[in-house]
């Protein structure tokens, strides 16, 4: 429903008389409040230039602006933009202040002539306004306008009115011969023109013609322009610019080509309304322009516009008359690519062109040659022959359709045979399939497909949340019926979508993630564990569920970890989480600080399977000396991570931890990869203070290192060897002796 509102907002933009005229609002804005609001909005804009939109500075600035907006005392504000100030009604605001510098100049550079801000604008709307304005006020001619960006981001309460860029066609002083032609055409059209009401084929007030000051012309119509330009490419380009279709990123030559493709119908329509003799000459130029297109573009234009125009007897088809014979034959043969085309389509097309007998005679052999060249493909498509008439069934049907003795009739019905419309066995079979498809439609699946498409299209996060809530209800039904695969598939799609739109619509991503988290209830998580324990397909379904939900499943999983009722299944749950530790780790690590010890211990165990990246969070639990189990779990997890960082953290606990921690750390140290372990042992033994404080540990380290065959401890051993003379400290002396022994080796 929210897009509907957005469309209404956009509609309002198109009715400037109602929305953008100062004073049309019901309540009069309170001027000092408006000034205050603009001031705060400009400050917010300033912050958005320097800091990310989610930063506290930006958020605070937006909140302040929003509070000020609410006190403006009007339904909506209408602000007219000038280069250095904005006008609310007749009052200029902000010249020489931050409002002028940030807001007015920014809007002016973004080609905004006025902006209407509804009092119902939310902080989110104001934030997007600032972000989009910062993104669009670079004075660039390309990319979406501010108005388009706001619509894209689901903001309908702030409606900028874009200043139209006039399209000025420079004609200078038209040659006298063209002016004479123009006079003749004007008088001819005046006589011929019907009295029907005139409407704007192209937007009014957008197009202007720049003539020499001495030119006698006082206005120029589109037909005049076609004559004066005498260049179909340029005419197409002007028409394209009149509807703002031109994409400024294209080069001039590129835009010429795309302009002709996009505006071909209108160019042909204009040319066909000119006096036939003159039009003929101009169609020749148009034909040349079409033939000059790159082959692929030319074929696309022929397929999409020119050939349909010929068959439908519209002006577009007239250009084919001016194609050279070979090009004409090639062009017409493209008609055979239409799925229902029968060979008669070529004769129909030729009939439509009203070629002279001589030209037709010249073209037909070329057509035959062209068909011959395509014969391989045609042979593959050939249908079985009718036994009586020895012709394909489609041709037989076509003949049935045209069962008219043309000789006695003043109309050829070949048109109807141009396409194979026979309701043959193949068609009957296809229809039966369609019937079957409709009958066997899985409606819930289709409903879910529709909802996910709407989520993809809708920019408003509230509306998205609504669709997702409906989707969740449907999924709940599927879940009850144990259709887990379908549920998982939809959740996967939703999660993928959240990732796809994250950059452009972060609030939609957030809405999707919230919906996924809401769907992952404790009850469903219990079902998932049960499925996991059941093995086989159930286990696969459970794993897919976790993959689909990702971090969204974490809150319910964590809740279950400490739930007495689920205690028997904790082991399975931890196993499941460990299997997907990488995926769940960000959410687990983020919530670790708020968990009780029992849960934290299990979560740390899972994090140990996530690989590098979460060592500090794990180590934070290892620092909790009061919970020995937690310390052991954390150190074990670190050893499982096995990274250099983890090794260093284990060594740190060994140096600084209490007795019990040291024992666990020592145990963890030896679980590390030999290279990491050796590095840490070397480091520990290289610290004299450590060795002196914990000689027993140092001795054990030396012994284990010796057993493990660490070969790079020679220098450390040499350093420690003099300790053997410390007779007064037997433990240290033993370390020294062991070190000497190792050094001697």
């Amino acid at each position: 429903m929210e897009t509907a509102v957005a469309a209404s907002g956009a509609a309002a933009r198109l009715a400037p008389d109602e929305r953008l005229v100062p004073g049309s609002d019901r309540g009069r804005p309170v001027l000092p409040a408006v000034e205050e609001f603009l001031n705060l909005l400009a400050r917010a804009l300033h912050q958005h230039r320097a800091y990310p939109a989610g930063s506290p500075l930006c958020r605070d600035a937006i909140s302040a602006a929003h509070r000020a907006l609410l006190s403006c005392g009007s339904d909506h504000l209408v602000l007219r933009v000038t280069p250095d100030e904005v006008f609310a009604g007749d009052t200029g605001i902000g010249k020489g202040t931050i409002v002028g510098q940030e807001l007015a100049q920014g809007l002016h550079r973004a080609r905004v002539s006025a902006v209407a801000i509804d009092l119902t604008a939310t902080p989110r709307d104001l934030s997007w306004f600032c972000r989009d304005l910062v993104g669009s006020d670079r004075g660039k001619r390309t990319g979406p306008t501010l108005a388009e960006m706001l619509i894209e981001h689901g903001v309908d309460t702030i409606v900028p009115q874009m200043a139209p860029r006039p399209e000025v066609v420079s004609l200078g002083m038209p040659p006298s011969s063209l002016c004479e032609m123009l006079d003749y055409e004007r008088s001819r059209r005046k006589d011929a023109e019907a009295s029907g009401p005139a409407a704007y084929l192209y937007p009014p007030d957008r197009g202007w013609v720049r003539l020499d000051p001495a030119s006698p012309l006082r206005d120029v119509s589109l037909v005049d322009l076609a004559i004066l330009l005498d260049d179909p490419n340029r005419l197409a380009r002007v028409l394209l610019h009149l509807t703002d279709d031109w994409d400024g990123e294209e080069s001039a030559a590129e835009s010429d080509k795309t302009a002709l493709e996009r505006k071909f119908s209108d160019v042909a329509r204009l040319l066909s309304s000119i006096e036939p003799g003159l039009a003929r000459r101009m169609f020749q130029k148009l034909a040349r322009a079409v033939l000059d297109l790159e082959p692929e573009r030319r074929q696309a234009l022929l397929r999409r516009t020119i050939l349909p125009g010929l068959l439908d007897a519209r002006a577009e088809g007239a250009v084919l008359n001016d194609f050279p014979d070979v090009d004409l034959a090639q062009a017409l043969c493209l008609l055979l690519d239409l799925e229902t085309a029968s060979p008669e389509v070529l004769s129909t097309a030729l009939d439509r062109m009203n070629l002279s007998a001589a030209r037709r005679q010249a073209v037909v052999p070329l057509l035959e040659a062209e068909i011959e060249a395509r014969s391989g493909r045609l042979a593959r498509q050939r249908e079985p022959l009718d036994p009586d008439t020895k012709e394909p069934a489609s041709v037989r049907y076509a003949r049935k359709l045209v069962r008219i003795d043309v000789a006695t009739c003043d109309k050829s019905f070949a048109d109807f045979a141009a396409f194979d419309l026979s309701f043959d066995d193949k068609a009957i079979e296809a229809i039966a399939d369609i019937r079957e498809e409709v009958c066997s439609t899985d409606v819930v699946k289709e409903q879910l497909r529709c909802l996910i498409q709407l989520v993809r299209l809708e920019p408003n996060p509230d509306a998205v949340a609504g669709f997702l809530a409906r989707g969740s209800n449907l999924l709940a039904g599927l879940w009850k019926r144990s259709r887990f695969a379908e549920v998982v598939s939809w959740l996967e799609e939703a999660r993928r979508l959240a990732g796809d739109v994250r950059r452009k619509r972060p609030d939609v991503t957030e809405a999707i993630e919230c919906a996924l988290a809401r769907f992952c209830t404790a009850e469903r998580s219990r079902d998932v564990i049960e499925l996991y324990e059941s093995g086989g397909e159930g286990r696969t379904a459970a794993e897919s569920f976790v993959t689909a939900c990702g971090g969204a499943a974490v809150p319910s999983f964590v809740a279950l970890l400490g739930d007495a009722e689920s205690q028997p299944r904790t082991r399975a749950l931890v196993q499941l989480m460990s299997d997907h530790a990488k995926l769940l780790a960000p959410a687990l690590a983020a919530g670790l600080g708020e968990m009780d010890r029992a849960r934290a211990r299990l979560v740390v165990r899972v994090l140990g399977h996530a690989g590098p990246g979460y060592e500090p969070q794990i180590a934070s639990l290892a620092a909790d000396e009061e919970d020995e189990a937690a310390v052991r779990e954390a150190l074990r997890a670190l050893s499982r991570v096995g990274s250099a960082r983890a090794a260093s953290l284990i060594a740190e606990r060994l140096r600084e931890g209490g007795d019990r921690t040291r024992a666990a750390a020592e145990e963890a140290l030896w679980r590390l990869r030999p290279a990491h372990a050796e590095e840490q042992v070397r480091d520990l033994l290289g610290r004299r203070e450590f060795v002196q404080r914990h000689p027993a540990v140092a001795l054990r380290l030396l012994e284990r290192a010796s057993q493990a065959g660490f070969s790079n401890l020679g220098r450390v051993a040499t350093t420690l060897a003099p300790l053997r003379y410390r007779f007064w400290n037997r433990a240290l002396a033993r370390v020294g002796s062991k070190a000497r022994e190792m050094a001697a080796r």
């Binding site: 198109l14 005139a198 409407a199 009014p204 957008r206 720049r210 020499d212 008219i404 019937r435 529709c450």
Partner: protein, 470 residues
């Protein structure tokens, strides 16, 4: 120079100052001999402004359009009290536009002043381009700006059928209009009324040849919402029946066709009916009607599950193209049925930008689009159902008779049964089977062409009075 800095520099140039400088240069040139220090100072001033601007921009373009000043194509809002006098002064000279290119030299700017002074003195001058060329001015052009008249003759059509209507069809249109208006007003869709309308269409309207004729033949009115929807629903119904759908399937088809364009209630009519080219924003707005429709419909409790999908997808093709962009998947089969009816109805209906096509022409367009944009098998089924000369088509025979098709002929689709009507379209007259043959076995007559009914249309209720149903 960065874009921002460049933009800031553009803002810094005040076109009014430059125009004033040119105006006073013109005056000074008229008052003093060439080379006078006052003239030189003014030229220096102009040169300074111009060169500063050209350092940051590819050209300096000042245009007056409808009294507004544009600097490099961007409107330059300025103190409106000062603008008219300077604009009027230049306009009096026939100059609405000054464009200066990089490389311009001081002497060229002085020469422009001379040319302007010459115009002031009322001397007979030729084209400005030639005059400036004569003075070696190659980087400055002057222009007069006139509007480009983009008007075009458009058709005006009534917004619903005129003339006598089949009573059930008329009632269905009234109900549909009310339903659409309710939604347009922001109220939710009344599903009970929609249900009644569907029953009316299936059980009453579909059984009336007069109503079918009004739907199948050329429609000389422009309605893009409720009439269009009722007609599409009926055409879809014909196709669904031909495809052998059961009652539930048929009802689903009719409901989805009836509501496929409900999203248009959220689009302003002036855009929907705009006769000319749409700009990017307008096109985007029109294209949102599919999404809006689906969004409206998913909110309605009790709606058939596929109805929102049809609304969402009905502008998508079997090849996965069209709008909205939903990936490459083909639309649901139900959507493909409605899409064919939608195209046929649009072709045979009037639009401000085109006269309605004759049914046989619309069928050929469907045939051309088959495979690429429409389902080929369904197109065949549709054309075979309605035939090239469907009920209600006004035709002329090879004997010069004019008649309305009152019965189609499945075995011989180009030779329907017609009821003769007089030139004004009044009838019914004699009933003629055009498939009848003479003694030699040849057809006695052929349908030579279909005709566009006179403006008042044809009174189908009379044509089909006593003709029975097909």
């Amino acid at each position: 120079m960065s874009e921002t800095a460049r933009a800031a520099n553009l803002t810094a140039t005040d076109p009014l100052v430059l125009l004033r400088a040119f105006a006073s240069l013109r005056q000074l040139t008229g008052m003093y001999p060439p080379g006078h220090p006052a003239i030189a100072r003014k030229v220096d001033e102009i040169d300074g402004i111009v060169q500063r601007h050209l350092r940051a921009a590819p050209a300096l373009e000042i245009d007056f359009i409808r009294g507004d000043i544009y600097l490099d194509g961007v409107p330059y809002h300025c103190d409106t009290r000062r603008t008219p006098e300077i604009v009027a002064e230049m306009a009096e000279l026939g100059v609405h536009s000054i464009h200066i290119l990089p490389g311009v030299e001081r002497d060229e700017l002085g020469a422009v002043g001379e040319y302007l002074a010459q115009i002031k003195d009322g001397e007979s001058v030729g084209p400005a381009a030639a005059e400036l060329e004569r003075r070696n001015v190659r980087h400055v052009t002057l222009g007069r700006i006139v509007p480009l008249d983009t008007r075009w003759r458009a058709m005006e059509w009534p917004d619903r059928p005129t003339g006598p209507l089949d009573p059930d069809y008329a009632r269905s249109l009234d109900i549909a209009e009310h339903t659409f208006e309710e939604v347009r007003a922001g109220r939710s869709l009344d599903l009970v009324t929609v249900g009644d309308l569907i029953q009316l269409l299936i059980h009453r309207v579909a059984r009336s040849n007069a109503a079918l004729a009004q739907i199948l033949a050329v429609k000389q009115y422009e309605n893009l919402t409720y009439c269009h929807s009722v007609n599409v629903a009926m055409l879809s119904l014909l196709l669904a029946k031909r495809a052998g759908f059961d009652e539930a399937g048929t009802t689903a088809v009719v409901e989805s066709a009836l509501l496929h364009d409900i999203g248009k209630t959220r689009i302003p009519l002036e855009i929907l009916k705009k006769p000319g080219a749409l700009d990017k924003l307008e096109r985007r707005m029109i294209e949102t009607h599919t999404t809006l429709g689906a969004e409206i419909l998913v909110e309605v409790e009790g709606i058939r599950p596929l109805t929102p999908i049809v609304a969402l997808e009905h502008h998508r093709t079997p090849k996965g193209t069209g709008y909205p962009a939903l990936g490459s998947a083909a639309p649901h089969a139900l959507t493909q049925i409605v899409a064919i009816a939608d195209v046929y109805e649009a072709m045979t209906g009037a639009r401000s930008y085109h006269v309605p096509s004759q049914p046989e022409q619309a069928c050929l367009v469907l045939a051309r689009l088959a495979g690429e944009r429409l389902n080929a098998a369904l197109v065949k089924a549709f054309v075979n159902t309605i035939t090239f000369f469907p009920l209600g088509t006004l035709v002329r025979t090879s004997l010069g008779e004019t008649g309305v098709v009152i019965q189609t002929n499945a075995a011989d689709p180009l030779h329907p049964v017609i009821a003769l009507v007089d030139e004004s379209g009044d009838g019914p007259g004699t009933r003629i089977d055009t498939s009848a043959r003479d003694a030699s076995g040849a057809y006695a007559r052929h349908v030579v062409e279909s005709l566009r009914p006179a403006h008042g249309g044809i009174d189908y209720t009379k044509c089909f009075a006593g003709a029975g149903s097909q």
